[in-house]
Point group: C2
Chain length 264, copies 2
């Protein structure tokens, strides 16, 4: 995935929000931000007055191959300049401020960004400097604030982590993966009929072994065994294995029976 | 929030999943993981065979005050040992494997973890080593795999980022924050009646100024202005400001009119 020279083959797919890092301090963090952006399918990175100047080799070294994002990043003197060609701008802001502004959760913001970008408008996300966050003038350039629901007892979020959460929400806002599935690879989930077939085989052998000889308890015992096997999706391959296990155990028992008889 | 000596005042709140780092390589990453866990309200950290031994000062230095989690972390020789007292274990696994196992999204996993923990069972989340990820024996200890929906063109996820996504989803699975709200602080959203009152004031002054003198166009022009002000939630404080703006502009015009008349 992540190549060696020049990093991974990344390019912008569709209309995606611009990430604007306002006065970032550490080039390491800019690299980690690029990596998180790539994870979530974002591409466009703008830097406003990076403290140590730009470019910085450290950023490339810390991006795990998201080089193309860093190669394409632009530098701006002010937030106003960085957002001048955008139509809608959201500012991430962990702390409450005394301003009148819509506040979105990360998920709410991702849904709105999908809608805005889907209309062909250009959107941006502002992230503040590592220590202080965005100041009031920065936030005055934004349409809305984004505040992540996180543990109020520990809000200190690393810059790349903050970008990761938004990039992840951006990606999942358009993702159709079902919350839970059974990965079966070459096999597939067995039908109820095939499971029934195995249970009949098992009960046959348990009858033969005498395990179910207590007639009044027999129906309940069979039901208990059935409950266990019905609880999860059993695959065809697993049923074949189970048939084999039952057969082998039964043969083993019969052979042991013969050996014991021979020994008498 | 993050204190100096001994870090932030963090402690386990309720029954939360255990994070198990399997053969972690860099102590820096263990610290960053602790920070991400604290962000999402997780507390219990277990390390299986950390490459450079344990404890490592670097972890504490890189945890931004999540010291208590690191102080309470336990070290185990094997995955089986680390999960022995747990009831349900999910393994994060970015790459497809040839095993038959339920696969959950991060959000799906968070919902199930909330349910499991809500029943009073102990749950755990396995994260593999930085480079290789979990091996097949590790995954055989898990009930299900967790695979995040992320950009397939760039799946390389930092260990702390992987934990961040799960911790964030764990937190948001129980979070009630509305996706969007208007933060108004001391003021509040104005009623339609008060907005109407302002619009009447504005139209009065626009009539007086002659701006609406084209009678056939007048209703349409008023409607356009109305559309603009009805589009967002206007606060009472903003309405007071707008009343002032209209009054002052009108006074300015009248005074200018007088000055012009005086000058004649």
């Amino acid at each position: 995935m992540t190549g060696r020279d020049g990093g991974a083959d990344l390019f912008p797919v569709g209309n995606t929000p611009v990430v604007v890092l306002v006065r970032p301090q550490l080039a390491d963090n800019v690299g980690a931000v690029a990596r998180a952006m790539a994870n979530g399918g974002l591409f466009h990175l703008r830097l406003v007055a990076p403290r140590d100047g730009w470019p910085q080799e450290k950023a490339w070294r810390n991006s795990s191959g998201a080089d193309r994002l860093l190669d394409a990043a632009t530098v701006h003197e002010t937030v106003a300049d960085a957002v001048a060609d955008l139509h809608r701008v959201f500012a991430t802001c962990p702390r409450p401020r005394h301003i009148v502004k819509p506040v979105l959760t990360a998920r709410g913001a991702a849904a709105e960004l999908r809608e805005i970008c889907g209309r062909g408008l250009r959107a941006g996300l502002l992230f503040g400097p590592e220590r202080a966050g965005l100041d009031n003038d920065d936030m005055a350039c934004a349409d809305a604030l984004v505040r992540y629901p996180l543990n109020p007892a520990f809000m200190s979020l690393n810059l790349a982590q903050a970008v990761m959460v938004m990039a992840y929400e951006w990606w999942t806002a358009a993702d159709q993966t079902v919350p839970k599935t059974l990965m079966t690879n070459e096999t597939q989930v067995a039908t109820k009929g095939r499971l029934e077939n195995f249970l009949a085989h098992l009960v046959d052998q348990l009858d033969a072994s005498g395990f179910l000889r207590n007639a009044p308890k027999r129906p309940g015992m069979i039901r208990n065994i059935r409950h266990l096997f019905e609880r999860g999706e059993v695959t065809e391959q697993e049923l074949r294995t189970l048939h084999g296990v039952v057969t082998e155990l039964a043969i083993g028992r019969r052979q042991r029976g013969r050996l014991e008889k021979d020994a008498e």
